[in-house]
Amino acid sequence: MAEIAESGGGGHDKGKKRAKKSSTRVDMTPMVDLAFLLLTFFVLTSTFSKPKVMSLAYPAKIDEPVDKNAPKLNNGITFLLSKDKIFYYTGEFYPADRPGKDGPTKLTETNFSASGLRKVLADLNSYVLLRKEGMVKKVKAKQMADTTYTRELELLKGKPEALKVLVKTDDKALCKNFIDLIDEVKIAEIGVIAPVPMLPAELKLLETQLKK
């Protein structure tokens, strides 16, 4: 493509000296090759999604014994997490040898899909979610300020009627399972999340469930 006009030997022009007419075109192929090479390199190496962080406050380690007169957990849900499996029970835990009003605690299995875990949490936390919906409508109708909304939502999440979540994991649970669960809990606008160690009785129950 290098179109530089060649003079066909200097022998047969008749005295007149002509300026050599060279084409203005330059061969751009190598440059284009390089440009595309660089382009491919940058396209393939660049990552645009910057990693995000999800904050989670853990309970402080206190050596003091637990206060026996502390109010009982009445609207809590406990998740027992194993590898890619998730079980839950609501309210207090009653082992087989010390059954409660409705007999010993039974585990219910669910999954990480929108129809599983998300629905369970949305149903149980309807107290917060319904009020949140009302507030969102108010914000949209410009009856409530954004800042008031965020503040009210935080207050709402901390109310006694709001759902509390306990997360217990066994030895096989993966970090992905744990983070997925916390994520779903956050989607359901739950303010109180406590990752706590599993009781031996719970572990036994979980293992019998897993064997089924």
Partner: protein, 223 residues
Amino acid sequence: MPKIKIPKSSPSIDMTPMVDLAFLLVTFFMLAASFRPSEPVTVETASSISDKVIPENNIMVTLDTDGKVYFNLTNPEARKEALNNMASLYKVSFNEEQIEKFALMSTFGCTMKELPAYIDLPGDSRKEFKTEGIPLDSLDNQLKNWISYSQMAALNTGKTAYEEAKQKGLAPDADDFKPKFIIRADGKSVYKKAEKVIDVFRELNLNNLNFVTSSEFNPNNPN
């Protein structure tokens, strides 16, 4: 018979617009790309709806699929201070050059004994360095010491940065200058291993932790 003449068109096409575009894209990607130092470990994190970006001043503990623990601290000044403290505690000596090199390094995962040799390696071969990660069991809890010294050092550097910002007439938020604690665990690692790291943080009374995640669609906030 008359011959059918095929019109002779020039085989060369004007490539200028294409080249223009190509260079425009090259420039864009070059400027948009941010180069980061190579890390000794690749981690596939789980995804979450969180849209909080990683804070700049952070102390990060990485956990890979095998449960090995790596440590990173972002502020170079704080890195030097933490290394000096760790060196005197574990009686490992570093020369000036090693300290300078360490300040500019990224994540590392080796014991204090291995650290001088690890620093001396050229950047590319650090990935192949055979190590068991930073020990964190109760007999030799180096991770705990790293975290506590780093936190002190990062608080000091954060404090000077805060004072500087104040003198410039800005209204800085003191919280922005405090180091944040981040756990970057591989999605496939066992949670119990992450819990051990979390327990180290909790023993130091650092209970507000952050998990690194990749972003995911948020059903509450569809934009």
